[in-house]
């Protein structure tokens, strides 16, 4: 159970390789790797800013809550900061649980939160200059799926919505 913020590139394979071994009661490990897209030339570099001590504490608190909610056995979140080239990994999330539904939902939930609510600031440098990227409405809706404490899963929540 760890949050790592780092400016150096990381290898998602190495992280998953370190996360999986020596588990005797883990049936399921889900992982997500977010990569920087080139956007067909429109994105030359992505630049991510964090607030050390604040960003990692916010992620840690959020992940601890998700671990409790989904009964996770373990989790790992690694996030790049600084300039990131197309094709490089931005974020890696792994979750370990007894069964696959919990591992998948927790990983999905952590990513929705990271995409729209984690304290990062993201700038895209393209051929026509730089622009700050803020969460889309879609990102906000994805994150809001997990907000209602009365519903445990996105499916249950969706069932109630209509």
């Amino acid at each position: 159970m760890a949050v790592v913020l780092q400016s150096q590139p990381f290898d998602p394979g190495q992280l998953l390789g370190g996360f999986c071994p020596n588990r005797r009661e883990t049936g399921a490990v889900a992982s997500f790797t977010g990569l920087a897209r080139a956007e067909h030339g429109a994105a030359l570099t992505l630049e991510l800013e964090a607030y050390p001590g604040f960003t990692d504490a916010a992620i840690e608190a959020m992940a601890a809550g998700a671990a409790k909610r989904f009964d996770l056995q373990d989790w790992l979140i690694v996030h790049r900061t600084g300039p990131i080239a197309p094709g490089e990994a931005i974020v890696f999330v792994a979750t370990a649980a007894g069964h696959r539904r919990a591992a998948f939902e927790a990983c999905d939930h952590l990513m929705d939160w990271l995409k729209s609510r984690a304290p990062f600031w993201k700038k895209e440098h393209g051929p026509d200059g730089a622009r700050w990227i803020e969460p889309t409405d879609h990102d906000r809706r994805d994150a809001a799926r997990w907000d209602d404490p009365f519903f445990d899963t996105p499916a249950e929540r969706a069932a109630q919505d209509d």
């Binding site: 604040f54 990513m111 939160w113 609510r117 700050w132 803020e134």
Partner: protein, 79 residues
């Protein structure tokens, strides 16, 4: 006195990321920043900009000491 940090587009607006500024409270700090740079003052006044004192989010006003660290945080966008 407080160590002031600007994140994201706020640092672009101001042209700086970190400064030490004389102020006894968060509201006094906001006034000092807006007086020195009205463009920054306007950016900081937006409803989506949050303030953190010593790495804890603060709504409303807060007293500052010389050791305080104040951060202004525009809308966040992770992953």
């Amino acid at each position: 006195m407080a160590r002031v940090l600007l994140f994201g587009r706020l640092a672009d607006v101001a042209g700086w990321r970190e400064r030490t500024i004389e102020a006894a409270s968060l509201s006094a700090l906001r006034t000092a920043l807006a007086t020195a740079d009205p463009g920054l003052g306007e950016a900081l006044a937006g409803p989506s900009v949050q303030a953190a004192v010593d790495k804890a989010l603060v709504r409303g006003d807060a007293a500052l000491t010389p050791a305080s660290e104040v951060a202004f945080l525009p809308p966040m966008s992770g992953g």
